[in-house]
C-alpha cells in the first residue's frame, strides 16, 4: 500500500517562498473568467496551505528558525478523530483529506490539530475554484499534497505544486512504503525529524534539520 509523504530539507531551503506562491496559485486563487485571478483578502499567505513561519528562537524539533506549518498528513490524524461527520478522512494512500460535501463547519478539526495546519477563510471569493479540492470559504482548509494531480488510492507518483516550484530541490515528495524512493530512504536513514513526535500523531511531513544539528538530532 502506498503512503504519500513529503520531506522539506531545511539545508536547501533559502526561504524564497516560491512554494507558498505556487500553493496559492494552485489551491487558493480563483479564476474570475475575465483573465483575472483573485486571492483571499487580507493576509493571503495565512491561507496558503504551506505557511512559512520564522521563530524568534530555534524550533526544538527542527533546530531551525524558519520552517513551514502545513498539514502533516498524520498516520493518526487527530482532526479525523474528532470530525463528527467523517468529512476529514484518510485516503488509501495516507493523505488526510476534507470532503466539503460532508463538512458542517464545527471547527473541531482546527481545535484538534496540534500543528496549526488548518485555516478557515470566512471572506468572499469571487470566481470559480481551479479544481475540486481547492479552498472554499467557510471550510477548514488544508494541504492535500495536490492530490488532484494524482489519485487518492494509487502510488504517490505525481508532483505537488510546491515541490515543482522549489528551484533548490528542498521539497521531496514520494511514497514512504516504496523502499526505492528518496523519501523512504531518507526516513530509513534517520536523517529526518517531525514536529512534536511525542504527541503520537505520526506525521508524514518530515524535515531535514540544518546540517550543524545533525549529530545531535541523530543521537536524539
Amino acid at each position: 500500500m502506498a503512503r504519500a509523504a513529503m520531506i522539506i530539507d531545511l539545508n536547501k531551503c533559502t526561504g524564497c517562498l516560491a512554494c507558498v506562491e505556487a500553493c496559492l496559485r494552485e489551491n487558493v486563487a480563483r479564476y474570475t473568467g475575465d483573465g483575472r485571478y483573485v486571492l483571499p483578502e487580507g493576509n493571503s499567505v495565512f491561507y496558503a496551505r504551506t505557511k512559512p513561519v520564522i521563530a524568534t528562537g530555534r524550533n526544538v524539533y527542527v533546530d531551525s528558525r524558519m520552517y513551514f506549518v502545513q498539514c502533516m498528513h498524520c498516520d493518526n490524524p487527530p482532526c479525523a478523530l474528532v470530525c463528527p461527520t467523517g468529512a476529514t478522512y484518510k485516503t488509501k494512500n495516507g493523505i488526510v483529506m476534507l470532503d466539503h460535501s460532508k463538512c458542517i463547519g464545527c471547527r473541531a478539526c482546527i481545535i484538534a490539530c496540534p500543528y496549526g495546519a488548518r485555516s478557515l477563510y470566512r471572506g468572499v471569493l469571487e470566481g470559480r475554484p481551479l479544481h475540486r479540492y481547492a479552498l472554499e470559504p467557510g471550510y477548514p482548509d488544508k494541504c492535500t499534497f495536490c492530490v488532484h494531480r494524482g489519485s487518492t488510492s494509487g502510488p504517490a507518483e505525481w508532483t505537488p505544486a510546491c515541490v515543482e516550484a522549489c528551484a533548490f530541490g528542498a521539497r521531496i515528495f514520494g511514497d514512504l512504503d516504496d523502499p526505492s524512493s528518496l523519501v523512504s530512504r531518507l526516513v530509513r536513514e534517520g536523517r529526518v525529524v517531525t514536529l512534536a513526535p511525542e504527541l503520537g500523531t505520526r506525521p508524514k511531513l518530515f524535515f531535514v534539520p540544518p546540517a550543524r544539528s545533525m549529530p545531535r538530532t541523530r543521537r536524539g
Binding site: 474528532v82 463528527p84 496549526g116 468572499v124 471550510y139
Partner: protein, 399 residues
C-alpha cells in the same frame, strides 16, 4: 391570560430578535480574519453548552426527586419544571446549528457518524435527552403528574436523567479529548460540566418557578416557598461547593502539566483573570453563602440574588475556561505562536482574547437566547396544561 403573561411574552419576542440578529450576522460574516482559525470557538459554543447543561440541570433535579425518591412535593411543580427544561434546551439546540458554518450538511452527523468524535455523540445525546424530556412532559400532562412515580413515569425520568448526565459529561469532554489544546482535560471538564449543570439547574429552577411561573400561573409564591425554596437553595449551595472543587481540580492539573501553564496564567493572572475570578466568586462562594442563607431563612430575596449571580457567574466561568484553552495554545504550541504573531502582529493574544470575549455578533446570539427561553417558557406556561391535575383539552397537551 394574565396581563403579566402578555408582558413577558412581548419581552421574550423582542429579546429573541437579538438572537435572530446575532445568528443572521454570524451566518453571513464576510470578514476574513485569521482569528477564525486561531481561536475558532467563541461565545456561541459556550452558549450552547450553557443552555444545554442548564436544561439538563433542571431536569436532573426533578428526575432525582421524583424518579429516585418519589417526593410528593415535587409533583406539584413537575409539569412546569419539564416545560422549563424544554424551553432551556431549545435555545441551546438553536445555537448548536447557528454556530456551524455549513449547517446545510448537518445531516451527515448521523449519516456519516464517527464513533470517535465527541461532537457526533452530542448529536445523538441531544436527541435522546430531548426525546425523554418531551415524552416525560407529554406523559405528565396526559396521565397526570401523579403517574410520574409509576413504573413508566420513573423509567422516563431515569432514562432522561442518564441521557442528560451523558450529554453534560460529553459536552465537557469535547474540550478535553484532543492532544492539541493544553489546559482542556477530559475528566475534569466532563465532571465540572455535571456539577455546573446541577448548579445552573438550581438557579434556573428558582427563576423559572419562583419568579416567572409564580407570576403568570396559578402557582403562588407561598406555595412555591413551601415546596421548593429549601430544596433549591440547598442544591445551589451544595453544587457550588462541587463546582468550586472541580475548578480547583482543573487548575491543579494545569499547574502539573507544563504545556498548560500559559492557559493557567491567562486564567488566574492574565487577560482572562477578571472574568474568571468574577465568575468563580459569583458561582462559588457567593452562591454558597446566598444558598445557605436562603435555606435557613427561607429567603426569596437571597435565592433570587443567588440564582441571578450563579447564572452570570456560571457562564463567565465556563467561557473563561473555554477561551483559555484556545489562547493557551497560542503560547504553548510553537506553530500556533508563530502563526499568531505573523498573522496578528504584536499583541496577538490580546486580539484573540478580544475576539473570544467580546465578539458582538456571537454575544448577541447568546444573550438573545435568554429572550428565546423567556418566550418559549412563557408560551408553554400559557398554552400547555401545566397546572396540577389539569386535563388537556386540545391536541394531546394543550389547554
Amino acid at each position: 391570560m394574565k396581563r403579566s403573561w402578555w408582558a413577558l411574552l412581548v419581552i421574550g419576542i423582542v429579546w429573541s430578535v437579538l438572537m435572530g440578529y446575532g445568528i443572521y450576522a454570524y451566518q453571513t460574516i464576510a470578514e476574513p480574519s485569521p482569528l477564525y482559525a486561531l481561536v475558532p470557538w467563541g461565545a456561541m459554543v459556550t452558549g450552547y453548552v450553557f443552555f444545554a447543561i442548564s436544561s439538563g440541570g433542571v431536569f436532573d433535579a426533578l428526575a432525582i426527586r421524583l424518579g429516585l425518591y418519589c417526593e410528593e412535593e415535587a409533583k406539584r411543580v413537575a409539569r412546569k419544571t419539564l416545560v422549563l427544561a424544554l424551553a432551556l434546551l431549545i435555545p441551546g439546540i438553536v445555537l448548536v446549528f447557528a454556530d456551524l458554518t455549513h449547517v446545510e450538511h448537518s445531516g451527515w452527523i448521523y449519516a456519516g457518524f464517527n464513533v470517535t468524535s465527541r461532537i457526533a455523540w452530542n448529536g445523538i445525546l441531544y436527541i435522546v435527552y430531548a426525546a425523554f424530556l418531551v415524552a416525560a412532559l407529554v406523559y405528565a400532562i396526559r396521565a397526570g403528574e401523579e403517574r410520574l412515580t409509576s413504573t413508566a413515569g420513573r423509567a422516563l425520568l431515569i432514562g432522561g436523567l442518564l441521557a442528560s448526565l451523558a450529554l453534560e459529561y460529553n459536552l465537557g469532554s469535547v474540550f478535553g479529548v484532543n492532544v492539541a489544546v493544553p489546559a482542556w482535560f477530559a475528566a475534569p471538564m466532563g465532571v465540572l460540566n455535571i456539577a455546573l449543570a446541577f448548579l445552573l439547574g438550581a438557579a434556573w429552577s428558582h427563576i423559572g418557578l419562583g419568579e416567572v411561573a409564580s407570576t403568570v400561573t396559578g402557582l403562588t409564591r407561598e406555595e412555591y416557598r413551601r415546596c421548593c425554596v429549601k430544596g433549591v437553595s440547598k442544591e445551589l449551595a451544595g453544587m457550588a461547593v462541587a463546582t468550586g472543587f472541580m475548578v480547583a481540580w482543573a487548575l491543579v492539573q494545569m499547574y502539573s502539566w507544563g504545556s498548560a501553564h500559559p492557559a493557567l496564567e491567562t486564567l488566574v493572572s492574565g487577560g482572562l483573570a477578571a472574568p474568571f475570578w468574577v465568575g468563580f466568586a459569583l458561582a462559588v462562594p457567593l452562591a454558597i453563602i446566598l444558598g445557605l442563607y436562603a435555606h435557613y431563612r427561607a429567603s426569596r430575596t437571597a435565592i433570587l440574588a443567588g440564582s441571578i449571580l450563579t447564572i452570570v457567574g456560571g457562564f463567565l466561568l465556563l467561557h473563561s475556561i473555554v477561551a483559555a484553552g484556545q489562547t493557551g495554545r497560542l503560547a504553548a504550541l510553537q506553530s500556533y505562536d508563530l502563526l499568531a504573531s505573523h498573522a496578528l502582529g504584536p499583541g496577538g493574544e490580546a486580539k484573540a482574547l478580544g475576539e473570544l470575549m467580546t465578539n458582538p455578533v456571537e454575544l448577541a446570539a447568546f444573550i438573545g437566547g435568554f429572550g428565546l427561553w423567556l418566550l418559549l417558557y412563557t408560551l408553554g406556561l400559557g398554552v400547555l396544561a401545566v397546572e396540577p391535575g389539569e386535563k388537556p383539552r386540545r391536541l394531546l397537551v394543550f389547554r
